[in-house]
């Protein structure tokens, strides 16, 4: 392997490589006090126990989780496209193999999350329909285009890095199947983030045009990555969104702003190691706060893309719908064959009896 000689494998590059992840995974293992608590939803929450599929739960809790897990699953599926766009063009065979495996992992995460959502009493087909007809969303980050090979690096480093920062606290989520899915997903995302960093590392130690490619990608992905944590939800802004209720239900454990700050604090030193300049003139270390200060996110752009007017919104959904529609006859054939097989087996049983 090349390029890894200066990247310390023991130094955490993302939140899944920190003690926070280990603690979350361990915490999940230790949630074994249900017997003492009983089955009451509020009592389980108060005792920091997991809610499991068969437990009674408020409709709003169920609906919130279905929406959130589905949006997460959709993000994995739509998220296959920006990088899938580079499978045929990856500049080396090693990179091609890593990229195929990564896109496969995303498909796997999507399926795993759809299964978690199905434990709440909805089926995958219904969720896919809601994605295809625009009733459910996916992460807005995937509405940005992947223009150069360096974008595969920037997505891994920044987008996966931000996603992991969001997801590590979800490993302690009150809903058991979602928490368990997150523990597994974070582990794999962590590899992806490291691979993205390594892509950029190599580009920054390459030719001038490779370095320019990496810098351009960082310029374009930095702000959208920060926006992934969602709009401000502390102080005055806390009154507006779902944050308060989600925290009470143990679905959310940190505010958007806290997670964003953690991400900036972890990522700025990595940019320095890479030799990349982050596109924010207000970025500076604040000794007093012990955090990096950063500039104002363009929330107008955020809302614009969220409403559907981003560079790739139409393309992503169109691609997804087309693949689904083109495959309809295949899925119908598989169902028809399965039905024929079942009826043949039934006939065999009857004739044997």
């Amino acid at each position: 392997m090349y390029g890894n000689d200066v990247i310390d494998p023991n130094e955490p590059l993302n939140a899944a490589e920190t003690a926070a992840y280990d603690a979350a995974a361990e915490h999940d293992d230790q949630r074994d006090g249900r017997d003492a608590v009983g089955d009451d939803f509020d009592a389980l929450l108060a005792a920091d126990q997991r809610i499991e599929p068969r437990d009674a739960m408020p409709d709003e809790y169920r609906e919130t989780l279905i929406r959130q897990i589905a949006q997460h699953a959709h993000s994995e599926i739509i998220g296959m496209q920006p990088e899938g766009n580079w499978i045929t063009r990856a500049p080396s065979l090693r990179r091609k193999a890593i990229l195929i495996a990564k896109v496969q992992d995303e498909a796997g995460h999507g399926l795993y999350l759809y299964s978690a959502a199905e434990t709440l009493g909805i089926d995958r087909q219904e969720l896919l329909d809601r994605l295809h007809n625009g009733k459910q969303k996916y992460s807005s980050i995937f509405n940005y285009p992947t223009l150069t090979w360096a974008d595969c690096g920037a997505i891994g480093w920044l987008v996966d890095g931000a996603a992991i920062m969001n997801q590590v606290p979800l490993c302690r989520c009150s809903y058991g199947p979602y928490a368990r899915a997150m523990i597994r997903v974070c582990k794999e995302e962590s590899f992806h983030q490291r691979q993205g960093f390594e892509i950029l590392w190599n580009l920054m130690r390459g030719t001038e045009s490779q370095q320019a490619m990496a810098q351009d990608a960082a310029d374009r992905w930095w702000w959208p990555a920060l926006a992934m944590f969602g709009p401000p939800d502390t102080g005055e802004a806390a009154k507006g969104g779902h944050t308060e209720q989600s925290m009470a239900w143990g679905i959310k454990r940190f505010s958007n702003d806290d997670l964003r700050q953690k991400f900036v604090d972890m990522t700025v030193p990595q940019a320095q190691k890479l030799g990349l300049t982050l596109p924010d003139p207000d970025l500076r270390w604040n000794e007093e706060r012990g955090h990096w200060d950063f500039g104002e996110i363009d929330w107008d752009e955020f809302w614009q893309v969220l409403r559907g007017d981003g560079p790739c919104n139409a393309e992503r959904i169109e691609h997804r719908r087309r693949a689904h529609d083109e495959g309809a006859w295949v899925r119908e054939a598989a169902n028809a064959y399965a039905a024929k097989q079942a009826s043949r087996e039934q006939q065999q049983k009857e004739s044997a009896a």
């Binding site: 090349y2 599926i77 296959m80 496209q81 899938g84 499978i87 045929t88 063009r89 990856a90 500049p91 080396s92 065979l93 090693r94 990179r95 091609k96 193999a97 195929i100 495996a101 896109v103 496969q104 498909a107 796997g108 999507g110 399926l111 090979w149 892509i199 190599n202 580009l203 390459g206 030719t207 045009s209 490779q210 691609h319 997804r320 693949a323 083109e326 495959g327 309809a328 006859w329 295949v330 899925r331 119908e332 054939a333 598989a334 028809a336 064959y337 024929k340």
Partner: protein, 299 residues
């Protein structure tokens, strides 16, 4: 690594070929068209490490590489998400087979080239894959027809190559055999499901079996490189794989209530000699353009 026999017998005649249902027999006029093979002709004698069967292995590696490239196009385009993953798996396996062979070929053809030199820096006329794998992506039935034939061929090929006199080749084949058996299972399941599914899927699967037909004979042509490799006890004569491959495919086709089509009016030829069909140029342009836009760069 074992030492192959002396590479003096390059001009041996082809073994008698049984007439295959796919019309695969290599004709005399094709033999006359054969070009000189870089691995065989240029590197005998001068380089003590050079072995004369590099061109044969290059054909096998290029088949795997080009098909991996085509299968990669399915990701995000498959009929269901599970299939995105499955076809990605097959692509990864084939890519791995090519990556297992290229550096070894570089070590025996006297050039010392690495995997990316082969994949990214060769022009169309220097590629030795058959036309089957370079054809553009069709519908899902087309892909399952191609995968059924190619994986059945690879199962027989790698079974034979596990006994290769070259330990590296035998090793690559041993690993590949486990993979391609899975590919064959996967394609077989789908061909049966589609054949015995709905009216539409049956019609599409039957049409796909007919469309793939002209590109099959080439798999079983005994070109100069494979004759040489077989003489040296390193490779296997493609024509000897034919009957077993057809038998494997015929079983699946029958189970899927489909019909194995009769011979085609025309057949592809020339891939092993670097004569390719129209889609090959675009495939290479797409695959190579980033690497070639940055000469000398590492990634």
């Amino acid at each position: 690594m074992s030492t192959p026999a002396s590479p003096s017998s390059t001009d041996t005649g082809t073994e008698p070929v049984t007439e295959p249902v796919t019309g695969a027999a290599a004709s005399a006029s094709e033999s006359a068209q054969r070009e000189s093979l870089p691995g065989a002709a240029e590197n005998t004698g001068a380089d003590p490490g050079a072995k004369p069967y590099a061109a044969y292995l290059l054909g096998l590696a290029d088949d795997a590489m080009v098909y991996a490239q085509r299968l990669g196009e399915w990701m995000t385009n498959a009929p269901q998400i599970e299939e995105d993953m499955a076809l990605g798996n097959v692509a990864l396996d084939l890519l791995g087979q090519a990556r297992g062979l290229y550096p070894y070929i570089g070590s025996i053809d006297g050039t010392g080239r690495g995997e990316d030199d082969y994949a990214m820096q060769r022009d169309e006329r220097e590629w030795h894959n058959v036309h089957l794998v370079e054809q553009e992506r069709g519908d899902f039935a087309d892909e399952m027809a191609r995968l059924l034939w190619f994986s059945a061929y690879q199962v027989e090929l790698h079974s034979a190559l596990t006994g290769s006199g070259d330990d590296v080749v035998a090793g690559v084949a041993g690993k590949a055999l486990k993979e391609v058996r899975y590919h064959l299972d996967h394609a077989s399941l789908w061909v049966v499901r589609l054949g015995d599914g709905t009216e539409e899927s049956h019609r599409r699967m039957q049409a796909a079996l007919e469309r793939v037909l002209p590109h099959l004979a080439e798999l079983f042509d005994d070109d100069e490189a494979s004759v040489l490799a077989a003489d040296l006890d390193v490779g296997v004569l493609p024509s000897t794989l034919h009957d077993a491959v057809v038998a494997r495919v015929a079983r699946v086709v029958e189970q899927g209530t489909l019909t194995l089509p009769d011979g085609s009016r025309w057949r592809s030829r020339g891939g092993r000699a670097g004569i390719h069909s129209r889609p090959m140029g675009s495939l290479l342009a797409e695959m190579q353009h980033i690497a070639r836009s940055h000469p000398g760069a590492t990634w």
